[in-house]
């Protein structure tokens, strides 16, 4: 992808961009991909040809990201598109989502796996309702790094005052939200100012270009390395002479650090044992942490199956059948049913669940709680209580995104109808 082959020790950063074509989001992504030489000649040729056919004046970089027929016909992005680019320092996954309010569910989907969110603000318009909504969603999904790109600086004569006003207005409303880290960068996606190279037109700005920031921002800090959590995915039992007694609990470490010799408790049985070894096909590991996929063997023979969880005796998750959830509703055919029954997926478990209460709905334009309208439908965000048929071993979403998240599935259509974050 890049003109120099990427080194083996580069790491991975996932970020999300929400916004509409008017914000210059597509232009920004097009610029990042073009300037890092990710767009190939044949892709550019195809886009040039499409632009001509549509009668667009310039090469329409939005066509690179809007891949589906319906999107091209309607000129909108209707889904999450994943884009990839790499520099010698890092590989990037972009979850590119439309920014309008009717695509809240797509933004939530894209944000669920992101380490960083780019929020675009038009320098001429300043902080608007959409900015607040995107920032709220990034906070709700616990994205640790927010980058506010003040775009179209070329249209305000690269004036520092315009940038300062956005920073001030953003701080005014964001102080009510719990954002860990926010970086502001004045850019012009169209002209390339501060996107890949530092801009010569904004001498007053001493910070990094967007790409430099993306390449150097610390990632992995959102992973929880304190609370050891290992949901068992699958039990590996080779029926071979060489591995006759091998019983490996396969899974991905979802928190904390596991080492051979560590005491562990198995949930839900509560049996205790010690880790005998941590296996991979490449050999045994001295320690395992997120996101490693391993197979753990224990000193004792205990009956363990998928859905069980290995944790440490002195640091256990909450265990219970009653959950408080912030949900985003995804279904366009059915609203959330008070007292409704759903299948709930959490780590490697699947249980039946019933909605016991709708506490409130969030007005995502004003960010206020609405308690007199508790009907939760497509793209709505609300707080609900559910009771599960069996206990779950869970953490607060703010402590651990993996053991703190659930999805609700409609029992009859099998559709994923909601995403939930445990409070």
């Amino acid at each position: 992808m890049h003109t120099t082959a990427q080194a083996h020790d580069v790491d991975l950063l996932r970020f999300t961009t929400a916004g509409s074509v008017d914000d210059g989001k597509s232009t920004l992504i097009g610029r990042l991909m073009y300037d890092t030489k990710t767009i190939f000649e044949d892709q550019l040729e195809a886009v040039e040809a499409s632009s001509r056919k549509r009668g667009d004046e310039n090469v329409n970089l939005a066509l690179l990201t809007d891949g589906l027929k319906a999107e091209r016909e309607q000129g909108i992005t209707i889904d999450v598109a994943y884009r990839y680019f790499a520099t010698p320092k890092r590989k990037f996954v972009i979850a590119d989502t439309p920014g309008h309010i009717q695509y809240t569910r797509n933004m939530v989907t894209g944000a669920s796996t992101a380490n960083l969110a780019i929020i675009l603000v038009d320098a001429r318009k300043g902080v608007i309702e959409q900015t607040r909504r995107h920032t709220f969603l990034a906070t709700l999904l616990r994205i640790q790094n927010v980058v506010v790109c003040v775009n179209k600086m070329d249209l305000v004569d690269y004036a520092e005052a315009a940038f300062d006003k956005v920073v001030q207005d953003f701080h005014d409303f964001a102080s009510k939200l719990d954002i860990p880290s926010t970086t502001f960068i004045p850019i012009s996606a169209l002209r390339g100012d501060n996107v890949v190279e530092r801009s010569a037109s904004m001498g007053w700005y001493q910070g990094p270009s967007l790409l430099y920031h993306l390449e150097t921002v610390q990632v992995g800090s959102e992973a929880n390395h304190v609370d050891a959590r290992f949901p068992v995915q699958h039990v590996i039992r080779p029926h071979s002479d060489q591995w006759h007694d091998f019983r490996g609990y396969a899974g991905q470490v979802m928190g904390g650090v596991f080492k051979p010799g560590d005491d562990v408790v198995v949930l839900p049985s509560g049996f205790q044992s010690k880790i005998k070894a941590i296996h991979t096909a490449d050999g045994e590991l001295e320690e395992a942490f997120w996101p490693q996929s391993v197979a753990i063997t224990l000193e004792n023979e205990i009956d363990i199956s998928r859905g069980d969880m290995l944790v440490k005796p002195q640091n256990q998750p909450r265990v219970g059948q009653d959950l408080e959830l912030m949900v985003c509703w995804f279904s366009d055919t059915a609203k959330l049913q008070p007292r409704g029954r759903y299948v709930l997926r959490h780590t490697t478990r699947e249980v039946k669940a019933v909605v016991t209460d709708v506490r409130y709905k969030v007005d995502i334009q004003t960010l206020h709680r609405v308690e007199d309208d508790r009907e939760i439908g497509l793209n709505d965000i609300g707080r609900i209580a559910v009771r599960t048929a069996a206990p779950l071993f869970h953490d607060e979403y703010r402590k651990n995104r993996m053991t703190g998240s659930v999805i609700l599935v409609d029992e009859f259509t099998n559709e994923t109808v909601a995403a939930g974050m445990i409070r």
Binding site: Y82, S112, V219, H225, P238, V409
Partner: protein
């Protein structure tokens, strides 16, 4: 003191292994679609690592257009024997002979679209409820919106407007009887990631991927290998050139590129500097702006 971070390749590997183990846990009868191309080889290698020291708990399925390179078939048989998995071959020729598909006519006839018929027949005949494929989202614009767990209706069709949202690593594999899933563990890998990983893991590849002398025919800007299925037309000539293949598929529509890259390092350097996508050599993608989406809707890989 460990910083508790892993490299891009280690991260991708861990994610893919998680996905493959989810397939084993959530489905009763999954299979792995194996073409002998680098992506399905990469997928198979990850499956080996996901279930080690057990054997891979899936059968492999190869949809054979009847227009394959012999090198690919030989490699396939050796690879499958080494892993100790069972291989099922779905034959496009048999589908045609049975009258369930009709050969395309015309100068650019290809069996590419017919593969879908044979694939769906094979999945149904063996009752597979999930088929793992090596497709990547960076390959093509319609694939950029594909899910990791991609739901297919009872006709094997993909409905891009009605895809299940995928959040965190909670994959929803629930389905009605008769429906199935396509699962793509390499969704977040790029072409370069696959190459770097193959190098890191020292996985053997079919010789077609490396520079060699071959008789080719230049057609529509693409170099097609001279085979019993591709013969010169009026005005075309057979030339011997040093080429390699960036993708391996049906010999009638997979073009070669001129290259001197004879080993992995040279190939990686070439891929890194490439200014054409690897599917730029695929005549099947050039048929229309949305040819991949159209094929996927019908049940293609």
């Amino acid at each position: 003191m460990s910083s508790y971070t892993v490299s891009n390749l280690a991260h991708l590997e861990a994610e893919s292994i998680f996905i493959l183990r989810e397939v084993a846990a959530q489905f009763e009868n999954p299979c792995l679609l194996f073409s002998g191309g680098k992506d399905s080889i990469c997928c198979a290698h990850l499956a080996y690592k996901a279930f080690w020291p057990s054997r891979i708990p899936f059968r492999f399925v190869h949809v054979d257009t009847g227009h394959n390179f012999q090198e690919t078939l030989d490699y396939r048989d050796r690879f499958v024997a080494k892993l100790g998995v069972e291989l099922l071959v779905g034959s496009v020729q048999a589908t045609i002979d049975a009258g369930r598909a009709r050969e395309e006519k015309g100068p650019n006839a290809s069996r590419n679209a017919l593969q879908t018929v044979t694939l769906l027949e094979t999945l149904e005949a063996h009752g597979f409820d999930a088929a793992i494929g090596g497709a990547r989202r960076d390959e093509e614009k319609a694939r950029a919106k594909e899910r990791v767990f991609s739901h297919r209706d009872e006709f094997g069709q993909w409905d891009p407007k009605n895809q299940r949202p995928e959040l965190w690593s909670l994959f929803n594999g629930r389905k009605a009887p008769g429906e199935h899933f396509r699962v793509f563990p390499l969704s977040n890998w790029t072409e370069l990631d696959v190459w770097n990983y193959i190098k890191q893991e020292q996985v053997e590849l079919p010789s077609l991927y490396f520079a060699h002398q071959r008789e080719v025919i230049e057609r529509g800007g693409t170099l097609l290998a001279h085979t019993p299925f591709v013969t010169p037309r009026d005005g075309e000539e057979i030339q011997t050139r040093t080429v390699r293949f960036r993708t391996i598929g049906d010999a009638t529509c997979t073009g070669a590129v001129e290259s001197e890259a004879a080993d992995l390092d040279a190939v990686i350097a070439e891929v890194a500097a490439a200014r054409q996508t690897e599917r730029g050599t695929r005549a099947d993608d050039k048929r229309s702006e949305t040819s991949m989406e159209d094929r996927k809707r019908a049940g293609y890989f």
